[in-house]
Symmetry: C2
Subunit: 466 residues, 2 copies
């Protein structure tokens, strides 16, 4: 069946993927153009729309009581805004030359073609699942979708054991470690890298490592998982590495994600080094006037290194959707790129980074000076002032800020925003020393920790000469 | 007696004022030049050096247990770094032509001249004390110096009554209101303006007003104090306004401060519209090669309005001192100016501002669009997400950010730093919408409240056309 039909002058916008990027784009396009000018059809293969995948660890940990709370907008709410949303419907083929997509009803298997004038691709990312024995056994979980979260919680409810092993020590890994600590589990995190949080330099990751141990989490680094061992009942029983075996009643995989671009690649759309779609400033797929892409399925320009990266993060997906919707709706907006900001926490330990790590700078051909300082979140004499460590990288000679990493307690994470804005503005660390940041004893020492780091970085850049 | 003497090639740096600006300058100059190259003599008329006056309300409120905690560096510590510090010694005359200062021992009255090659003026500010009956009565206090703080605490210990009236509703006023709330007092704040916190626009001050009332503080606005009425024992008993009378067992004056430039003006040094010393970028007093000034006694350039302002704030004083000490020590540093950032709190209400208020923009000849939004400190579903209100001003047509005001709970105040950096970089509100700020559910909604405001401001600038 071909759903294309004569539509007069009314254009049709088709959206593939009903989460942040796709539905933000649809909503914004609808704000700019009414139903009489623009028909909007959106396909989502799952059960939910517009939800916060980032919130799943907090749902599992008990801070959020129900999955509904993670849903920003339901299918019904989207439909009420004149978006023709087809749930449980997967787009299985994209015909760029013909300007149409083939969609399949997940439950019935029925298929049909839908033509488009404008297309938005928001297919997201898929978790990396290592090819090893036991990876599909009961008790082994991902936490990528709400369905994943529900499956994990159901599994926990059915299981008596209290030993959780998390494979991977990135954002998802440490957040899931916290979730299990909050549920009273014995938690082991098995990590391939030298230290947890490989998005930080290892010396900063080391601080996270120590803090996690202080929380009673067993942190295993430099570990290659070879097998997820199952018991007689077929359920996972242990995580096996080259060196040891860690008993597990439940295993969560948090090894990262890859852009979901199977469909787009089959259609001949351009992807980059990280397998993500390549777009222009207006979030149009390169070389295609009427196809946009955003969210976890695209690569973004890192404004500091000048290279493309893949970053799966809800805040980017929402911005992309906003930009795409504006352009697809006849307006004009751009997404200039990212500086690589990310924040997280494990219980009361806050972790933040923006810009380049040492190895990123090296890879980008940038020479740098690095400094690390320790300071406090409030005036030292003010109650609950807590230590934080700030690492700062500045370009050799020019002194341009290249990156900041912060590990500390309350007030540490969002301080990285200062550096995120400074990176965007291409400030030097010396310019940063004069920044007029908020000061009062409950909020900061007279020299904010970020300024202390900037002062030290300035001195080091000057001392290093040319 | 003339303390000038043959000193060979060794230069002498004289510092007037032993608090943040003066002693930071002295310390930094000493770091760059040893005792054999540079002699440093510093005069302080009080009992303390390098202390945090901003911490006094928290000492009075009980969050800080002793005044010693507010002292960053004692006279002994300064002397151990080869700074010839003369305590309880007031400089009473500055002879610019002769390159010398006349100092008086406060206790003995003995005077002497000291010559200088380089001079640093860090004479600070003095509180405004209105000329009205009763202003000098026992029970009426300022909170400008550690001595003031101690006098207030002694007075509270001697007094049985529990009614405190704070005159003035700026930073000091609201912080002292909190201090008295923490001590279990009935607190009344009597304020001349329409709303408390006149450093905010009245619509934002109104939010502070309501929150203070929620804390049980009686907030009286639009009130002109005419008298501080005393009892038979001479002690203050009530604050009298044109309309009413407020019983008081203790009164704190927090009406603001003025630059302390009596000495400098008598010596013919240039002051500006706000009676503060005028300096160049290197913090040298204009027209004087070898005299620097910093801290509460100078005016600073507001980078947003292009006009001079007087801002008494420890963080600026420390930066000034650092710049002055670097230059006086033979290095090179500048203080480009401020954007007017300030943060404060009343109990759990956080208050922040940076850049221009509506009336500042008007005064600076800038036309603007203003927007106000409400959002949350964390993802809406995350525990303890709290509401915050963000007001943003953008220049008409260009969309350049002009100012931000934030009132909210935890996480509201330091968010203003995002805007402080954006103002420094002269970003437009549209550029801000793409800022890569830290996002994770415990720290921010996917659109940080500052970005929500930037989006709304962008739309309003666009809609207003040319």
């Amino acid at each position: 069946m071909d759903m294309s039909r004569a539509r007069g002058t009314r254009e049709r916008l088709v959206v593939i993927g009903g989460d942040a990027a796709g539905m933000s784009a649809a909503s914004q396009a609808r704000r700019l153009k009414g139903q009489d000018e623009l028909e909007i059809v959106a396909f989502e293969r799952g059960h939910f729309t517009s939800y916060s995948a980032c919130g799943i660890p907090y749902w599992v940990g008990g801070d959020v009581s129900a999955p509904e709370e993670l849903i920003a907008r339901t299918p019904e709410e989207h439909r009420a805004r004149d978006i023709d949303l087809r749930m449980r419907t997967e787009v299985v083929e994209l015909d760029v030359a013909g300007g149409r997509v083939r969609a399949r009803d997940v439950d019935s298997g029925a298929e049909s073609w839908t033509s488009y004038d404008k297309l938005v691709i928001g297919t997201g990312a898929r978790p990396i699942r290592p090819d090893m024995p036991g990876v599909d056994a009961p008790g082994v979980h991902g936490v990528q979708t709400l369905d994943d979260g529900q499956a994990l919680l159901d599994s926990l409810a059915r299981t008596r054991g209290r030993r959780a092993v998390v494979v991977g020590a990135g954002y998802i890994g440490v957040e899931m470690a916290e979730a299990f600590v909050n549920r009273g589990y014995d938690v082991t995190v098995v990590n391939r890298g030298k230290e947890p949080m490989s998005t930080l330099d290892p010396d900063m990751g080391r601080l996270v490592h120590k803090a996690m141990e202080g929380l009673g989490i067993t942190m295993v680094n430099d570990a290659h998982v070879t097998e997820l061992r199952t018991g007689d009942d077929g359920r996972v029983r242990a995580v096996v590495t080259e060196d040891a075996e860690y008993p597990a009643d439940v295993v969560v995989l948090g090894i990262g994600v890859r852009p979901e671009t199977t469909l787009a690649k089959a259609a001949g759309l351009p992807v980059g080094q990280h397998d993500g779609l390549l777009t222009d400033m207006a979030m149009r797929v390169r070389g295609h006037e009427n196809i946009w892409a955003g969210g976890d399925c695209v690569e973004v320009l890192d404004l500091v290194s000048g290279q493309e990266r893949h970053i799966a993060l809800g805040t980017h997906a929402n911005k992309h959707g906003q930009v795409i919707g504006t352009n697809a709706g006849g307006g004009y907006a751009t997404f200039p790129g990212v500086v690589g900001t990310a924040v997280s926490k494990v219980c009361d330990l806050e972790i933040a980074r923006t810009g380049l790590r040492e190895k990123d700078a090296h890879r980008a051909g940038l020479q740098y000076e690095a400094v690390t300082i320790e300071s406090t979140s409030r005036a030292g004499y003010y109650p609950e002032a807590s230590l934080m460590t700030v690492k700062m990288l500045a370009e050799r000679r020019t002194g341009r800020l290249l990156g900041v990493q912060i590990v500390g307690r309350e007030g540490a994470a969002k301080r990285v925003d200062i550096a995120a804005v400074a990176l965007t503005a291409r400030m030097t660390v010396e310019q940063m020393t004069a920044l007029d940041l908020g000061y009062a004893p409950p909020f900061s020492p007279v020299w904010d920790p970020v300024l202390v780091a900037a002062r030290k970085a300035t001195a080091k850049v000057q001392a290093s000469g040319r």
